[in-house]
Symmetry: C2
Subunit: 320 residues, 2 copies
């Protein structure tokens, strides 16, 4: 089975790990392509940081800090503590020692002329993602950086998200570089040739929304013969993780399972989705959407552990 | 007293530390300008590494790894060990975690548009060099990188020095970028307005020689009203530290206290030196040089500890 996932960081990574567990049982030999949001990427002290790619790589490669959901297990912070002693800014951004090694390897290869796709593939060799049938792709090889328009001007998304915890009113999200960006090699093919395209419960605005904004990706989704189904990142009117509600508010979408589905839209009416899996708390939303022609399902969508997440993935695939 | 030192890494840093100890006793309030070789600088994994500037900063700031002579005390190598797991090259170059913080701070500031001079001043604030009357200057704000012509082509000096331990025959040293380089702000003034200019026992070819090669520096030395005196890095026909003999051989200069003095040359005859301090093992060289009009002195020049090095500095200043 060929499955393609459009993913942000922690939520998408955990979902994909469950998906792998499910497919290993139900469809051994499946090929899974994960297309990662790279809108959160940034230059930090001269090194290239790719938060979502790394969270996916560490999670699927068994190296993630489990409680935290991102970064490396057994991490330390000798470098960042010493950087702080120089009074260097960005001290709100955690730069773990082991994580930094990933950034430095990536930066070395990027500076040697490799693309982000090639660089990502090299990093993933160490974590043996191919052994699990997984190929991790950046959404684009061109730099795209999400900035947030706050009252004082534009700041990098990570500054708004990590430093200000999304507490500064966000007037607009601006993807700097998007106009010059193309889908990375393999992205359109992975959508067009898949048996199923999945949207995990990632942030609909700044994760999946950014991937969809890369020229050509939305068209690939609307035209692929594969069914496209997703999981609501909103349970009972609240974001399960992160500050998706604040992001939705900025683009004028209510923080509800139904509103997010309607924001993505149904493919039959010009949107990108065929089906939508919601939490049991949102059974009413599922009924309303089903009445409008959506394929829907209802289950406990909180990704507690790998076995439970594997069951969520199975339920989602049942919508296909 | 205004003293200017032209320095490489370990040897120059240890000498300067002794000089500071001597001046603190004999001439409190002295201003010491150290002009550092930056020919060993390089980009490594996207961060800017400046070995000699850092060795000077750590040594004068009390942060150096004493036994090693370079790098930080209480250093660790979590990042570099993890980098090696990615199979990234340059694993022959030690990239300590704390040292890396220095490189990252520098890289951040360089990318923000600060010059190397400004960046160095900011880094030195943490180590309180100004409190000791010390100003640390790079020889140039433009990148100059020493490369070594070996049989297979050009390699970076650090690769020849650290990786190959100077064992590959060096046909030539090439300073890449030298033609476009200017002395950093303050360098020519520090030479022209000093009461004394000192050459510590740094490598005459790839440390002091590189500083002298920056357009304008040699002229500043030949024309300064200040006496210019140096210490032989060769004792009894062998380099005290490092592989200076191999470097001297490449440029056709014998590894002897006398030959190095004659290579620098006496200012009265177009060279850059007025006086030359040699080790007791080389008393004969001092006699020959004195017969030719050099100011010379003889002492135990091995820099064992700070008090002894302070006495060496005092002897050198007596030549002024």
């Amino acid at each position: 089975m060929k499955v393609t996932v459009l993913s942000g960081g922690v939520g998408g990574a955990r979902f994909t790990r469950g998906l792998l567990a499910h497919l290993a049982e139900s469809a051994p030999g499946s090929q899974i392509t994960v297309i990662a949001n790279t809108g959160d990427d940034m230059w930090l002290h001269g090194v290239r940081v790719c938060p979502d790619l790394d969270t996916l790589m560490y999670t699927l490669g068994g190296a993630v800090h489990e409680q935290q959901g991102w970064g490396r297990r057994e991490e330390s912070s000798r470098v960042s503590q010493d950087l702080a002693a120089y009074g260097v800014g960005w001290d709100w951004f955690t730069l773990g020692d082991l994580d930094l090694a990933t950034h430095l390897a990536r930066t070395q290869w990027l500076r040697e002329g490799l693309s982000l796709t090639e660089t990502t593939a090299r990093l993933c060799e160490r974590w043996r993602l191919a052994d699990q049938g997984v190929r991790l792709l950046p959404m684009s090889d061109q730099p795209v950086e999400t900035h947030v328009r706050v009252d004082d001007g534009l700041i990098h998304f990570e500054e708004w998200w990590v430093r200000h915890r999304a507490a500064l009113p966000a007037r607009e999200f601006v993807q700097v570089g998007l106009a010059q960006a193309e889908p990375a090699p393999g992205v359109l093919e992975a959508i067009g040739e898949a048996d199923a395209v999945l949207l995990p419960p990632s942030n609909p605005v700044v994760s999946v929304g950014t991937i969809l904004a890369v020229p050509g990706v939305r068209d690939a989704l609307t035209t692929t013969p594969a069914p496209v189904v997703g999981i609501s990142p909103i349970i009972g009117g609240a974001a399960v993780r992160g500050m998706a509600a604040e992001c939705l508010a900025t683009i004028g979408v209510a923080a509800s399972a139904e509103a997010v589905a309607r924001h993505y839209g149904r493919r039959a009416t010009g949107g990108v989705l065929d089906g939508w899996l919601v939490d049991t708390a949102d059974a009413e939303a599922a009924e309303k959407l089903a009445a409008d022609g959506w394929r829907t399902a209802v289950t406990d969508t909180l990704m507690r552990d790998v076995p439970h997440t594997a069951r969520i993935a199975a339920t989602l695939l049942n919508l296909v």
